[in-house]
Amino acid sequence: MAAVQDGQIEPESEKEIKSETLNDATGNHAAAVGGLLPSSPVSTASVGASNSSKAAASEDQQTLLAVLQFLKRNKLVESADILRREAGLLEESDDAQGSEGGRDELGGASADEGGEAASLFSRVTSATGASGIATGPAPSKATVAQGSEDQPDVSVVLSAYSQQGDPALYQMYYSGLKKFIESVLDCHRAELSQLFYPLFVHMYLELVYNNHEQEAKEFFEKFHGDQECYYRDDLRVLSGMSKKEHMRGNETLLDFRTSKFVLRISRDSYQLLKRHLQERQNNQIWNIIQEHLYIDIFDGMPRSKSQIDSMSGSLAGEAKREANKAKVFYGLLKEPEIEVPLDDEDEEAENEEGKPKKKKPKKDSMGSKSKKQDPNAPQQNRIPLPELKDSDKLDKIMYMKEATKRIRLGPDNLPSICFYTFLNAYQGLTAVDITDDSSLIAGGFADSTVRVWSVTPRKLRAVKSATDLSLIDKESEDVLERIMDEKTASESKILYGHNGPVYGISFSPDRNYLLSCSEDGTVRLWSLQTFTCLVCYKGHNYPVWDVQFSPHGYYFTSGGHDRVARLWATDHYQPLRMFAGHLADITCTRFHPNSNYLATGSADRTVRLWDILNGNCNRIFTGHKGPIHSLAFSPNGKFLASGATDGRVLLWDIGRGLMIEELNGHTDTIYALKFSRDGEILASGSMDNTVRLWDAVKAFDDIETDDFTAATGHVHLSENSLELQLGTYTSKSTPVIHLHFTRRNLLLAAGGYNP
């Protein structure tokens, strides 16, 4: 038997031995003990550590005792004797430990026996007995009370190495916790009930991942009914996975397993939980909690069930408070000052102001009157934006003229709705977009085509072919009309090019380009002057679900199945920014009106706000109970509305990162959300064939402004969805997939007829 250098090396060597004995079923344990002692590579490194802290030494002692018990249980008496002798442990306390441990192990740690209440009780009594003895080689038993996680329990020690507890005991742990939580005070129960779902899923995934298929199935059967109803879809996916191989392809669940589920619990409830778990020595649950959950503690009143329900539902739990604390510049960029030329057409509009003789140009009425920078608005050059071309300036002038004729909407002045129904689409209409001036409509279809229609009587014209262009007179006045081909002018044009259904469409603000994204993983840029495809942006290798041009043109975003959103510029064939962080597919991407931020909605039921300048995620909004399919920023840039498959529209205050309001009413997925031009009305369109109008002004007026709300992120939602709903308009049988307010506040809706 090789000599031991000093007592401290022992525990580490024992660790080595223990893993060895575990690994080989038949090995000569005495030989193994002897063989490994002189050559324990771990020991030198850990000697220093164990020398330094008493707690670590106590851990090692406990590990030692655990190994001892293990050897005894397996009737390796000789090895146990050798170990005891060399470790220098006292016989009687060991025996006392050993016998209790033996009883323990016989009771619970065997993987063959199912977990039983009796063994749990025996574990509890023996543990308390152990802490009662507290003598001999383990004066640090007292550390158990102080919250140390280790116990003379092989399964616990094993868990430190292979990160799994005894699979048969998972049911017991879970039901033990359930019993505890059901017994606490009402005010704490709602908060602690948040633990059920993440614990359930993590324990189930652990069992599956470590190949305990039978136990996993039993565990699932027993407890899946207890979970909240809004987790039903997740549970269904889980029920289909009982083997480790099933998990291989599901990136979402793999990410869920390795990321921490965030819970917000008040300090009182947390203390209660902690005290219970430690006094009952039920440390396996504690281990799991520490490994998989992130508990964000706040000081204050525990939250009520309704408060918790409104914020929970996402795959990653809620958002940590500091995730929503970064400063977001939600103000609008200053509009450029444009001289509006006074010509004859404008006389009727400006009669009251000026006579034709007045030479002073009319200042831009859209820009802010003050020269001071809005503190909440980003700098003009924070991100580079394209300069305004002359055509853009003309566009802006048109916009201002239309704005003067705009109808002011309100609860007593609802907009008229004009519905564009796509006939003969046979459920193939997958995306729609309308230009800002409402002159063109484009539809993306499941047969991979994109079709563009002209809404106005003016037909769509393409530029002539090269041969014809050579024949025209380039010096003539109306050359711009001459280059257009009259022979092929038509109401609609079809664009071919994609390899799969087209899921997203976006017009550029200057109406020169059209973007489309498809299931084939590409985003295509089409020219609306030649009606041909100009560029094919390849980056996502998986279906791209949404694409959108920035309000200033030049930039666009795309989001898809690969869980990243990308920012592109039309003249770069690779993305400029990548926004990674979501746990599941990104289903919706929208630019903020100042083009500095990007909102993404995802199938993991969260909405994130990203900063384009540096790619950081500035806001995480949780609360939806289903994948988010529509987003809309209010025109003043302060608020965000989101709609999901759960039929609810949620309103968020971007500046403070809080939920403002929850609008109930729809019964099916909401695919379209739009604010009116001045932000007074929010229109939502859904698969339930209705368009609903909501009073946005009233919703945003009711914001509570006390500090407590801002600090803790609690929401006190007023239950007045019905009051905020201004109208419901049903179509015959056409789901609404796009909404658009014209410049004069007429509401356009689009959908494919679906009898």
Partner: protein
């Protein structure tokens, strides 16, 4: 849209009943009846592919029977090949972190349509005009109509490309060899503002043949800049 009533489960073959049960377990309640057939066909194709692959692996390992390991290997290889999944989150976070460190590129003003370099666009013509062999000279001053023939798709950069909307136009004629002169007309963008059009025509003076040298015209520099 609705779906017609399905055949009663008793008359369906067992496979179809199993498939219906699977759909029910996964929470799919509304589907057209042909979905079952499609799913069964997919299942059949997938299983036969796996088993064929597994047979190959078994013979490679010189085993007489196909066993579970072969099947497992076959499934894994197919999964990596056909059913790939997106990259893992930590990889994406790392790539995103690197990408987001570079500052956003400044935008050059007054550059016309902002598109990537031509080789990344789809604006190249996918035809090339065939040069005609006969050298008979036609009467002077007459511009003959070019005979277009669709050649092979050429993606070589020396082929003239359509950078801006209508950049160059070449008319190949069958006349005497003389380098065609090129006349560019640039319409002042500030006057019209909406379109930057550069129209170049080939002024065919007299009897210019298309010699092969015109095909290999000089490559323009701006085609190849990498605007990164």
């Amino acid at each position: 849209g609705g779906f017609s009533k399905m055949a009663s489960p008793k008359t369906l073959p067992k496979d179809a009943q199993v498939m219906i049960q699977i759909l029910k377990d996964m929470g799919i309640t509304e589907y057209e009846p042909r979905v079952i057939n499609q799913m069964l066909e997919f299942t059949y194709r997938y299983v036969t592919t796996i088993i064929e692959d597994a047979k190959i692996y078994a013979t490679h390992a010189k085993k007489s029977n196909v066993d579970a390991d072969d099947i497992r290997l076959a499934i894994q290889c197919r999964m990596d090949q056909s059913f790939t999944s997106p990259p893992p989150r930590d990889f994406l976070l790392e790539v995103a972190r690197q990408k987001n460190q570079t500052p956003l590129p400044l935008i050059k003003p007054y550059t016309g349509p902002r598109l990537p370099p031509d080789r990344y666009c789809l604006t190249a013509p996918n035809y090339r005009l065939k040069s005609l062999q006969k050298k008979t000279s036609s009467s002077a001053g007459r511009i003959t109509v070019p005979r277009l023939s669709v050649g092979a798709v050429s993606s070589r950069p020396s082929t003239p490309t359509l950078g801006e909307l209508m950049r160059k136009l070449y008319v190949y004629t069958t006349s005497t060899p003389s380098t065609p002169t090129v006349q560019n007309v640039l319409i002042n963008p500030s006057l019209i503002g909406s379109k930057n059009i550069l129209i170049t025509t080939n002024m065919v003076s007299q009897n210019s043949t298309s010699d092969s040298s015109t095909l290999k015209r000089k490559h323009e520099e701006d085609d190849d800049y990498d605007a990164l």
